[in-house]
Amino acid sequence: MVDITAQEIERCAPLDGVRTASRTSGSRIGFEDVSVAYGGLTVLKSLTLTVHPGEIVALIGPSGSGKTTALRVVAGFVRPSSGRIMIGDRDVTDLAPYDRQIGMVVQNYALFPHMRVEDNVAFGLQAQGAPRDVIRQRVPECLAMVGMSAYGKRYPRELSGGQQQRVAIARALAPKPQVLLLDEPLSALDTQIRRAMIDEIAKLHHDLPDLTVLYVTHDQTEALTLANHIGIMRDGEMQAFGEAQALFRHPPTRFAAEFLGRANLLSVGGLTAAGPGEARVRFGGAELLARNPHNLPEGRDCLLCVRPHHMRFAGEGAVANALTGVVQSVQWQGDVHNITLTAEGESLRMTCVPMAVPPALGDQLRVCFDPSEVTLVPEDAPRG
């Protein structure tokens, strides 16, 4: 059992075995070697993962990667073909969804259209047999928690998408569930409302620090903003798991680097050690210094992961990790300029603050990046 510790590199977990994160009390969600198969097709392959109490773990991945299946297994809507699901200390694998004490929020809100907002929020409490005075007290509390106190008497159709999603969250939280499952909860919202809702969910979790959340999304921004830990899934397998920032800064695989944020992945060779956790590599005629968190062996060909926002213009003097490239495209996007360069036959993207006079196409640019911000990634990603 590999435990995630404070060491950043170790937090960026290996690709097989148990993924776990550190917390000590309350309800946890445990996947113990869980597989799901439909007919002959295995859509979730031997997933072992622990979401500790009070933690938000985001599962991200492309469509068909198995992330929603993983969530539905916890909810009880999909039965695993093997393995166990634990909520707290209970084995819930064979329990019906209504006996699992979970809260769930889905992409399309799924509010009950014939019920007023307050009745929607009260539904779970009534279903679990809460006394009337408890319901009368709890419903306004939950509506206040999501800023919907003034909308209790309205029907869902009278609310905007963002308001409906807030009600859905209040409804899920009203029975005080052990765990909260969020299945792409912001996907149906437009960009501005989605940003606001990310802030609200973050605030909500700050107010409810013991709530354990499994958050499924295909949006890396949601995952990076909200999650303590992120699991990247592909083809029914966990490709990478780690503390959110560590996973972003030091992706363990090409897929993780490309899926979580934008990345330049340069093919480099001639790896030599250059101090603790660092290595030198050759990129064409240039020698570059980079972090080697995955301890890639000397002489190995690998990828150098450089985030576009970590690249900056280099001056005329001698600078470490400098490359010269030719400008291929310049795009102004309001708050940033995106520049594409070609260096040593490879394409490089950089993002920088808007410039009054941006470089012209065909210009030669000298760019550099801090060795601590770039990571060596194995070329052939091991599969979990």
Partner: protein, 295 residues
């Protein structure tokens, strides 16, 4: 000038358009008038003012107070009400199974429902006589198995036989709109309800039933309308002492040649049917538009 000419070509003159519209409306109206409204008016006139007599309500009162009319009305209401209630319960349960419990052959079951709607009503009644009749399969099996002298199952030739046959024949009329309504319920709503701790019966009662109530009411109204006017099943079963209003009209007009009484009873039946049809339309229009899903 050119613009004006183009406009004149593009939009025909209102007078010509109106006359063209009339050409489309008048022929079907004439057909309806000749084939439906004129015979109906004859029936109403015969009921209000029998041939050779002046307009009088006396005859109507006599018919309406007669024992056979009261009995006919009673049987009509009881059979229609019971059959409709049975159709609603059976239709709701069967639709739930087909829509929400995955099993191989569910699409075939849906097609079968459509097929039953297309069959003539007497066919089901005929099948009933083969199965539950005195010399039917069931009685034959029971008599052979238990060496009985009399067939033990004899409900078919009673009011219950009629009700059972009507339930069998008209349940698909409830199921069809119900299945359509069920298909519009988001599965996520049911899942979320379940995750909130709601057991299946609560999910049915608080989520599925309210969402499908418009379809249930519309299907039920249609069923009531059809069962009130059902003639073939009652006639074919030939249940003893079970006379409904359509049967009474038939008996008065064809067997007793009492056309005036037949017309009075027919008018009552028409009023009853129109009332039920009005109810059906009101439900459809109330729940069919923006109010769908609100109960």
């Amino acid at each position: 000038m050119a613009d004006l000419a183009a406009h004149a070509v593009a939009s025909p003159r209102p007078g010509r358009s109106f006359r063209a519209g009339l050409l489309w409306v008048v022929p079907p109206l004439l057909v309806l008038l000749v084939l439906f409204f004129y015979p109906l008016s004859l029936i109403v006139r015969e009921a209000l003012a029998p041939e050779g007599e002046g307009a009088s309500l006396l005859h109507i009162e006599t018919v309406l107070r007669s024992r056979e009319f009261v009995s006919g009305l009673y049987h009509t209401v009881v059979i229609a009400g019971s059959a409709t209630a049975g159709c609603l319960v059976l239709g709701f349960v069967l639709s739930l199974v087909i829509a929400f419990i995955p099993f191989p052959g569910a699409p075939i079951a849906g097609r079968l429902i459509d097929m039953i709607i297309a069959l003539p009503t007497f066919l089901m009644t005929l099948a009933f006589t083969f199965i539950y009749g005195s010399a039917g399969l069931l009685n034959g099996l029971l008599v052979d198995a238990f060496h009985l002298e009399q067939p033990p199952v004899d409900f078919l030739y009673s009011q219950w036989g009629v009700i059972l046959a009507e339930i069998t024949v008209f349940t698909p009329f409830v199921m069809r709109p119900l299945l359509a309504a069920f298909s519009t319920i988001e599965p996520a709503q049911l899942e979320v309800a379940s995750s909130l701790g709601a057991r299946p019966f609560r999910v049915i009662r608080q989520i599925i039933l309210p969402a499908s109530l418009p379809a249930l009411l519309a299907g039920g109204s249609l069923c009531l309308l059809l069962t009130v006017n059902e003639f073939g099943i009652v006639l074919f079963i030939g249940a003893k002492d079970v006379i409904t209003l359509p049967m009474l009209v038939y008996a008065k007009a064809i067997q007793e040649f009492d056309y005036t009484s037949a017309c009075v009873i027919a008018v009552v039946n028409v009023v009853l049917s129109l009332g039920l049809y009005g109810l059906y339309r009101a439900i459809i229009s109330h729940f069919g538009g923006g109010n769908a899903g609100r109960v």
